[in-house]
Every structure is written in C-alpha cells, then in structure tokens.
C-alpha cells in the first residue's frame, strides 16, 4: 500500500521523510493539489454500491483504496497552476480531491477537519488549559480599553497574530513582539489583537509529537539576550537546538492535547522560565521539524516515515449493520 504526500515541490523538509520511505521500500506518491488539472489527475466512480478512485501524478498511478496513509504537509491551493485557474475551478478541484480522499480508509497526518480546527490559536489556548499545560495570561480583543486594562495588570506584554498568518500584499512577517510601556492601544479597534504576558525565558522549547512519540529540543537563551528579542524565529542567537527530556507532566498533557485535538502530529512551542516551567505558546499542526533534526540529529523524519508506513486498514464494508472484511 502507498503513502500519499500532499505538498509543494520545494518542500525539502518533506524530502527528508521521502528518503526514509524510499529506504524502507514503501511506495510513495507525492503531489501538489495546485497541479490539478495539469500534472495531477484524478478519477473516481461510485457504481453498484462501491467506490473506485485513482490519482495520477507524473507517471505514477495509485488507487485510493490502496492508500495506507495521507500526509498533508504543505499542499498548494487546488488547481492554482491550471491552464486557466479560477476560484470556481479551485473549489471544484478541492472538493473532488479531498472529498474522495475523505472517503478512503487511510490514516491521516493530519485529518483536514482536525487540522482546520487546530489552527485556531484561541482554541489551542483553551485546550492547553484543559489539558493542564501552563498558559501565559492572554487577551484577544478589539476593545482598546480592554487592552489598556490588561497592560495595567500585566505591564510586560507581547503581541502576536491571532491566526499565525502573515500579510501578503506586500509579503510581510509579523513576529511575536514586545509591547513597549505606554503604548497607544487605539489601533486595537482595527483588528483582533492578541496580547500575552511575556515569559522571561531561559530557553525556547520545540516539542515535536508524532503520535505518541515526543521529541523535544531546547534552545537556551543567552544570559545577556535583548529582552525585546522575543520570537526565537527572528532572534540573532547562535546557540544551538539541543535534545531535551520532556517532563512527565508535560508529556501527559501533550498526549492528552493530541488526543483531544484528533492530531497525529503537532509541533509545540513552549517558553521555559527561570523555574524550569514550560509555558505553552502554541501547537502548530504542521509545524516545521527539519531545522530541529538538522541541529539535534533527532530522528523526527524517520519517526514520521515509520508512522506513515504502518500497515493500512483492512478494507471493510458494512453489511446488515455489521462490519465485514472484504476479500
């Protein structure tokens, strides 16, 4: 049975997993939904109570019933590279592709429904609280007065995007940034704003979870680091990421989070404070892992490949209300 990887061609991080799948002899088909209906084709028929579907990318043809797992990595928007792209064609193509795949018995990393829900940061914060993860005091608001009062209670704040998305016209990044004292919060009225108590950190933690396998890495913060450099992605530190042990209570909470979220993969970001407490910042359901593996040597790509390689489900059909194996 085959592993389907939905991602862009330039996703070299996905390559790290494909290398392991190739080494273990597991068939792989990799395609970008953006290439529908050019380099990628699909077909499915629902006849006599059964479904038969196929996908083709380049010269590879695979039966949808022959998929053991589907890795939704960094897929492009469906049909955006078609000869005559349109929003209508994108919707048609996305419905056809993901609709057929949703009908397969393959395991997902991660299922689109779970992924969509898991991208909501406010939902993440609440789930993290319920799972017992420490969450810094946070406010999401369009009320300038609420922001001012929050700043009175928590004078040392950071601001970050609610969605994690970044403006594209022109392309910009919005790093987590420290909010200066006496900041004017009037512009809070022009867009939902996420303010969070800054955690004075001695390290950043990236915990990559692949099902029940937890691989944590720690990047220490320099003692003389600029406290305005909040976002590790934009910090100038040369200190390396190093493997770290996961405290048992955190491990238990993270596994609970994954179960509740219906995720088989998650990249958790924590800030470690001076007491050693790991403060939950976010969980990216498709977070990057390549940079961690490159620096720490942790076998994240291999672990993902092993999860994707597990035998697919036995094909079943429902007969008279009971589950019957199809031979």
């Amino acid at each position: 049975m085959t592993v389907l990887i939905l991602t862009s061609e330039e996703d070299v991080t996905a390559d790290m997993v494909v290398v392991h799948l190739n080494a273990s002899g597991v068939p792989v088909i990799r395609l970008d939904p953006a290439d529908l209906t050019g380099g990628v084709s699909l077909s499915g028929e629902y006849v006599h109570g059964a479904f038969r579907g196929h996908l083709q990318a380049a010269d590879r043809l695979v039966s949808i019933s022959g998929l053991r797992s589907i890795w939704v990595r960094r897929p492009g928007t469906a049909a955006t590279r078609a000869a005559q792209p349109s929003s209508w064609l994108t919707e048609e193509s996305a419905q056809a592709l993901y609709g057929m795949l949703r009908g397969s018995d393959a395991r997902w990393m991660n299922h689109p429904d779970a992924a969509r829900r898991a991208r909501h940061k406010p939902w993440q914060l609440r789930l993290a609280q319920r799972c017992g993860l420490p969450v810094p005091a946070t406010l999401i608001t369009t009320f300038p007065q609420a922001a001012r009062e929050f700043a009175d209670r928590y004078p040392d704040l950071v601001v970050k995007p609610v969605s994690g998305a970044h403006p594209q016209d022109p392309p910009r990044a919005v790093p987590t940034s420290r909010v200066a004292p006496d900041t004017d919060f009037t512009a809070v009225a022009y867009g939902p704003t996420l303010l969070q108590r800054r955690v004075p950190k001695r390290a950043d933690i990236r915990l990559t979870a692949v099902d029940d396998r937890l691989l944590a890495a720690r990047k220490a913060t320099l003692a003389d680091a600029d406290p305005d450099e909040v976002d590790v992605r934009f910090a100038s530190s040369d200190l390396p990421w190093q493997p770290a042990d996961v405290p048992p209570r955190i491990a238990e909470a993270v596994l609970s989070y994954l179960r509740e979220a219906g995720l088989s993969y998650g990249a958790f970001d924590f800030a470690e404070d001076a007491d050693g407490t790991w403060w939950f910042l976010e969980c990216n359901q498709s977070g990057q892992f390549g940079f961690v593996e490159v620096e720490t040597g942790q076998p994240i790509a291999r672990t993902i490949a092993e999860w994707l390689s597990r035998p697919g489900p036995e094909p079943h059909s429902r007969v008279n209300g009971s589950t019957t194996r199809v031979c």
């Binding site: 862009s8 061609e9 330039e10 996703d11 070299v12 991080t13 390559d15 790290m16 494909v18 290398v19 792989v28 088909i29 990799r30 380099g39 990318a57 380049a58 960094r74 991208r119 922001a147 601001v159 970050k160 995007p161 609610v162 994690g164 998305a165 970044h166 403006p167 022109p170 392309p171 910009r172 990044a173 919005v174 790093p175 940034s177 919060f185 512009a187 809070v188 022009y190 867009g191 939902p192 704003t193 996420l194 990236r206 992605r233 934009f234 990249a267 990216n284 359901q285 498709s286 977070g287 990057q288 892992f289 390549g290 940079f291 593996e293 490159v294 620096e295």
Partner: protein, 63 residues
C-alpha cells in the same frame, strides 16, 4: 486605521529564491545541481535555512 499587530510587521524573507536544488518528478525529491539528494545534505540545509521555522515565506505558513 492599521490593525495594532501590523505595527510590528517586517518584510518577509523569500528563502526559496536562492535554493540550489530542483524538484525531480521521477525521484519525488529535490536534487542538487550535482545530482545529490538535497535532503541528505544537512550542512547545506542548515546553511540555507530552508527547513527552518521562519514565518512569512511560501513553505512556512504554519511554522
């Protein structure tokens, strides 16, 4: 009228523009110009930072 968070925006980095590899549809992998598989060259990946969590670029929308 700009939302508060955009006061902290900065130009995005386009990492893909400088990648010294190209996708091989037969291998389903990115291949360096000398034929080697890019994903096996960790030193290069570290140098290029193409696997890094750096928000705002094409393949890093969900870091």
């Amino acid at each position: 009228m700009q939302p508060f968070a955009l006061n902290y925006a900065r130009p995005a980095v386009d990492l893909e523009a400088t990648a010294p590899y190209v996708y091989d549809t037969g291998l389903q992998l990115n291949v360096l110009f000398d034929g080697r598989v890019a994903a096996r060259d960790f030193a290069l990946l570290r140098e290029l930072a193409t696997t890094t969590s750096t928000a705002g670029s094409k393949t890093h929308f969900d870091d």
